[in-house]
Amino acid sequence: MERPLTQHIRPDREPLTLREYEQVGGYQAARRALQAAPREVTEQVLKSNLRGRGGGGFLTGQKWSLVPPDDHNGPKYLVINADEMEPGTMKDRWLLEGQPHQLLEGVLLSAYAIQARVAYIFLRWDYKLAARRLQQALAEAYGQRLLGANILGTPFCLDVHVHTSAGRYMCGEETGLLNALEGRRPTPRSRPPFAVTCGLWGRPTAINNVETLCCVPHIVQRGGEWFRALSRSPDDGGTKIYGASGRLRKPGLWELPLGTTAREILMEHAGGLADGYRFRGLLPGGASTDFLVEQHLDVKLDFASVEKAGSRLGTGTMVVLDDRTCPVGLVLNLMQFFARESCGWCTPCREGLPWLARTLQALEDGLGTPADLDVLEAHVRAIRPGHTFCALAPGAMEPLGSALKYFRPDFERHVADRRCPWRAG
């Protein structure tokens, strides 16, 4: 099984130096691509069926095709979303810490494809080790003229800056991220216009996730069709970094063909549930995805199949619910997170999420009534895309709505017993 993104990452994550990275084929794709037309990079990425790995699942090549090629009225930008803050997600940390040059080569190729002259890596505040290693890799790359002016003797110039954030989930939402980069509060922007035509400082901007860009050197080097065939699903190309956390024997991260089933990840790679725990459900791609349960374990974890099963692939890093963890308590934990991280820009999110958190807290404290379940249901129906400014609040409804669907008897027991059945005493 091929693992292009992670095969050279050492078990202790000590990163490859520029020299070591070049010895395993690094920057060969960039050397070749910069001798050809920018459009050829995009063509290969289109052929590869690479979809955005940050959670959106938009076709990367298509996104780049929407950046106007003939706009020369000012700079175009590439923004790398490395603000990995979705609870349950730790995949980009692996790539950032373990192989920073792979990301930088992906940045170089992608910037070349859309002819961006400046790229910003928007990094999570707490990824301190990743920040140091990225700066080190940048210095090496500038030193060898792989970045900066006239890269590798060609007319192409690219400056890459690392912007470290200061802790706000909204910065992961792409228009919130743009505002944050400009030095404004990370509230969302209305769309249209879309970032690809009017993004950072009003200029065309492509925003891509770390894992997405780490795929690009391999696509350019070995061809879009090769990359596409790595996947087990017809509509998606490549491998995916899957992860699992919770009460498992071996929680972790694995690069596997896109379309690997939930069961295979859970049972083979994560080793199944820890001793004394039983499986009840999982959030397939972070906090803002719907629960999948036993009946879904054989679903292929690709974008279309997970959607058909009623959830979203999201970031591909699953959080597992076991039988000794209260599902109401888990959803309360998520709701407190979403309520805390709401930017307050639109009413359903600012007012609705704290109300839901208080209602769930009441259930946990044994103060819930049957009418509270109706309140929860009503919010799930009301807070949906189109009723809010961005995807934060609808995302918060996904674990709640699906918990009400699959674990309803547990909610009802909280009301009937006037206490949380999982709490001692």
Binding site: E84, M85, E86, P87, G88, T89, M90, D92, R93, Y120, R124, W125, D126, Y127, K128, L129, H161, H163, T164, S165, A166, G167, R168, Y169, A180, L181, E182, G183, R184, R185, P186, W201, G243, A244, S245, G246, R247, P251, G252, L253, L283, A287, T317, V319, L321, D322, T325, G329, L330, N333, L334, F337, R340, E341, C343
Partner: protein, 154 residues
């Protein structure tokens, strides 16, 4: 007054952006790195340095959880309270911090040694529960060994 060192660091950041406003979060972090927190006076100084109003700077300072607008202890404990760490025992860990140091979330020990702050997912979910103390990430924590860990931070 910003020190020369702070001014230089901010000037360095300004070179990365076409507009000075964009350096505001970096400027806040630079001041915090040198002083531990961001005072009203620092907010005014940063505003002057970036041609913004103090209110504009404060609107940014107050929206980020890792910009401290009040003094903190010598060491800041950031305890992840997001979902994977919650499943794996963030609450018993927080209780243990309370038992050892006598502080709850948002509080600082009387001797000014530690401040405890809950924080969102640290991106170490496969090694939960996790916390950061200052710039160090600590993973696979168990309450029984917490005392030992805290000893390392004088």
């Amino acid at each position: 007054m910003l020190t020369e060192q702070e001014q230089q660091a901010i000037a360095e950041e300004l070179r990365h952006y076409p507009q000075p406003r964009a350096a505001v979060s970096e400027a806040l972090k630079i001041v915090q790195r040198h002083r531990g927190w961001v005072s009203d006076e620092s907010v005014r100084d940063i505003a002057a340095a970036l041609s913004l109003t103090p209110d504009e700077v404060d609107s940014i300072a107050t929206c980020y959880s890792m910009i401290f607008r009040r003094p903190v202890g010598r060491h800041v404990i950031l305890l992840c309270d997001s979902v994977s760490c919650w499943i794996m025992g963030a609450n018993p860990l927080q209780a243990q911090v309370g038992a050892l140091l006598g502080i709850g979330p948002g509080e600082t020990t009387a001797d000014g040694r530690f401040t405890l702050l809950p924080c969102a997912c640290l991106g170490a979910c496969d090694r939960a529960p996790a916390m950061m103390i200052d710039d160090d990430l600590h993973v696979d924590l168990v309450p029984e060994k917490l005392g030992e860990l805290l000893e390392r931070y004088a």
